[in-house]
């Protein structure tokens, strides 16, 4: 009986805090994406106009983001029948976009206007119980170009 009560409390906590934080995070992501939209990000290895660009310094952004109890529970149920794990999709999406924003913010501080050769890397930092997703790290890095001199 107690076990069920604890699970219900954890689910409510996870759902309450988790969805509130996710909403807040998305609002902040949208605002910062609009603010940083003039820094262009490319995953091509070479600049199309190398004669007009200077700079060339590595910039990176990383974030460790964690699942909540509700998301893990819903994903656990979904894994019985297979299909899309929508609760994890939004988690990974937030992590990637946050990391890109941090990288762009670093580039803006240097005075860059574009980032080239962008690479993403995702790794699992810790596993939750029963080998579920606990927390993940997203790293994104690239080379900032623009009208500045690299250190």
């Amino acid at each position: 009986m107690w076990e069920i009560a604890i699970v219900v409390v954890l689910l409510c906590l996870g759902y309450g805090f988790g969805s509130y934080r996710e909403k807040k995070h998305y609002q902040s992501i949208y605002a910062r994406e609009a603010e940083l939209k003039n820094i262009l990000v490319f995953d091509t290895a070479r600049s199309p106009a190398p004669e007009s660009e200077t700079g060339g310094q590595l910039v990176l952004g990383n974030v460790v983001i964690s699942s909540d109890y509700f998301k893990t529970f819903v994903a656990g149920l979904r894994m019985l029948v297979g299909g899309r794990l929508t609760s994890y999709e939004s988690l990974l999406d937030r992590g990637r976009r946050e990391a890109v924003l941090r990288m762009k913010a670093e580039a803006r501080e240097l005075g860059a206007d574009s980032i080239f050769n962008v690479k993403f890397e995702t790794s699992s930092i810790s596993k939750g119980g029963n080998d579920t997703l606990g927390s993940i790290e997203v790293l994104v890095y690239g080379t900032a170009l623009g009208n500045f001199q690299a250190a």
Partner: protein
């Protein structure tokens, strides 16, 4: 020391290749922080302590790579890649590698 993950830097010429340089560090998680992270697994959200831990560790690996490049006489490391692997439960290796080169140009 210029660090970049591009193969060619606009307006700079590579005058000498010095080969692969690398740096790595293995870091374990702090027990106290791990317990806090356990709570975060219930509530969700960013684990700021881990974000900082990972970026500090990556910075250290990069410094080791730079030291190696400097001793080889390079003034830039190009085509830099990062790799993360978990070597044991609760410990991760952060590895960074690139090609040490000499670039011409006074600003480097």
């Amino acid at each position: 020391m210029l660090i970049s993950n591009m193969e060619v830097i606009p307006q700079k010429r590579i005058i000498k290749h010095l080969g692969l340089v690398q740096g790595s560090t293995v870091r374990a998680k702090h027990v106290g922080k791990d317990i806090l992270a356990g709570f975060k697994n219930i509530l969700g959200g960013e684990l700021t302590a881990y974000t900082e831990l990972m970026s500090e560790a990556r910075e250290e690996a990069t410094q080791r790579m730079i030291a190696q490049a400097e001793s080889a006489g390079a003034n830039a490391v190009l085509n830099v890649r990062f790799a993360t692997s978990s070597v044991a439960q609760g410990a991760a290796e952060l590895f960074v590698y690139g090609t040490a080169v000499v670039l011409d140009g006074a600003s480097v």
